[in-house]
Subunit: 359 residues, 2 copies
């Protein structure tokens, strides 16, 4: 490839090649498509010139003849401003891109603001329908699963391959559908047992938005595992933002006296942003971390390492989730059997925010 060569008038066409070589367009086309009807010597000349001038088959023409777009789609159904603040999405996209780029596949990205859709129940479905109808993508990766999620039936109807990222371990692969499953039960047990062995008996859980299946499972497993170990749990629903994580923290802790029976000695947050907001709220309440309250969050993004005190977290290889999902989708697109990959369980990353309960 030469970028400093003679300027060319945009894209190189089959006509250009034919004109330069002094042969017919049909001959060029035969040569490029590996068809008979042209001598091997001519074929070699055509291919050499095509390579030199940077000729590529038009993606539109290829898509029409091969029914492949070499593109994978992702729709993030969330307020774009929130997406901009959430390290989870960028990490997972980086993991996905690492695999797609290595296979010369393109990523088609769309963000749909739930507050701006005309009909809440139809959420982001119009994008999938349009992509399928227009033949834009070879498959999609789904995040943020909800109860009675309308996306899988829609995609099934369009015969569109899809991978659910972060599905529960009970979700089975089906026709044109593979899954990266995450066991919230195992991760919840890791967190609860880390708190119990440090002496905590009464904890609080600040969880993400209602309706997200993985978040509901996480909260249920945190509660039931704590109960099975004789611990008590208070729960407060938040929305994954730092601001509301702080508000939820104040709702749970304000007015409670350290040492009293109802005082939670540890707070578990459903994501890192809420935990960082929680740390600030605890400071305003004059509660020291981990002196009065221990804090554990979920994911272990860069926010945890950079916060002060350092945030303990259930550390998950988010970019690996993305890599696995991309790998599964490429397999489906290539016609391989659907299958699930069980994500590696999270590992507790203990930092300053996690202390022994000495009350």
């Amino acid at each position: 490839m030469s970028i400093s060569g003679a300027p060319q008038a945009g894209k190189v066409t089959i006509s250009d090649l034919a004109h330069r070589l002094g042969i017919s367009k049909a001959s060029v086309s035969y040569a490029l498509n590996g068809q008979s009807g042209v001598s091997e010597a001519t074929r070699a000349r055509v291919l050499a010139l095509a390579g030199e001038l940077g000729w590529y088959p038009s993606s539109s023409a290829r898509a029409l003849s091969h029914s492949r777009t070499d593109s994978v789609g992702i729709v993030l159904f969330r307020d774009p401003e929130q997406i901009g603040a959430e390290p989870f999405y960028m990490s997972i996209l980086a993991g996905i891109e690492g695999v797609l780029g290595a296979h010369d596949m393109n990523l088609l990205l769309r963000m749909v603001d739930p507050g701006a859709v005309p009909d809440e129940r139809m959420r982001d479905l119009a994008v999938y329908e349009r992509w399928a109808g227009e033949g834009r993508v070879d498959g999609v990766i789904l995040f943020d699963h909800v109860r009675d999620d309308p996306r899988p039936p829609l995609l099934d109807r369009f015969r569109m391959p899809y991978v659910r990222l972060g599905a529960g371990p009970d979700v089975l692969p089906s026709v044109r559908n593979s899954n990266v499953t995450v066991s919230q039960a195992v991760d919840a047990a890791t967190v609860v047992e880390a708190l119990r062995e440090r002496g905590h008996r009464h904890i609080a859980v600040v969880s993400g938005p209602a309706g997200l299946v993985h978040e509901e499972q996480k909260t249920e497993h945190l509660s039931s595992h704590a109960a099975s170990l004789g611990m008590t749990v208070v729960k407060c629903r938040s929305d994954y933002t730092a601001d509301d994580g702080g508000t939820a923290t104040i709702a749970v802790m304000a007015g409670l006296v350290p040492g009293s029976p109802e005082f939670p000695t540890a707070i578990v947050y459903g994501n890192d942003l809420m935990a960082v907001g929680g740390l600030q709220a605890l400071k305003r309440l004059n509660l020291s971390v981990p002196g009065h309250v221990s804090v554990i969050s979920w994911d272990d993004s860069i926010l945890c390492r950079l916060s002060s005190p350092g945030l303990s977290a259930l550390s998950r290889s988010v970019s690996e989730f993305g890599k696995n999902a991309a790998q599964l989708l490429l397999e489906l697109i290539a016609g391989h059997e659907p299958r699930n990959i069980q994500a590696r369980p999270g590992v507790l990353q203990a930092r300053e925010s996690l202390g022994r309960n000495l009350l």
Copy 2:
């Protein structure tokens, strides 16, 4: 649209419509393309059924006939792991997506790891060349401009519209090229004057990677404006990561005694991640912020508000940069005149990390 209707065999084709209506494929095609050769009554029946079944023109067929892909491309030329940690990119993508989504345009995203390309000088050019050659995108947005940047000449050669985001104010629009320009001089003056009026006379600058034009301009303007006000500056090059920002901080400050003439009483960082790493390094050096050293960073992402002490920053509306760039690119694609938008200057957001120099 009905997602619970009778299952359909994938995509609806013109043949399907013709079969259901009992008319020829040619008639359906005439009706859908607004051509004559079909009665108005038949046209109405065809359009009604097409709407009901969710027929869309194939994007490949449309691209061939209209030379439009309804897609915009962005290549991030940086280690994907670093991209995952950098709030700047996700914010700017959110801004871009907000505009593209409202116009039903798709965003094609690619990340290219500089450490993984076969030839460093060719950087990510192969992606642009391929997109242009295959007719994948209608235009691209460029970040992270370098000296003698090879991307604009390549895109000019392919007649591909592009918008430079974050170009210097001296960059003029050209054929098929608009720009969102940022004045590093104005922003640097804002930061230097905020420090001077708080009594600082000797400051340090920890800058991002060599070769990035905006980063070099930023450092030059910080130095020259400080010099014009009788202040002195020490400079240290870093790489935009938190870890190296910490290392650079130690390189600048270690062994210096607060109160001595060579001790910088304030450090300016080229981005938020390096500043957060710097805060941690200063803690290890037993230097208090802002007691011994004030800290100001660049961008004011969510990291600044969440860090402790709160990080003062030159606050820039990063998502607005993205919105402006997307708007300019849509104009170019629609055939409007190229033009520049001058981004609004940054505003100093003072938080705990900025103190008066009382040494």
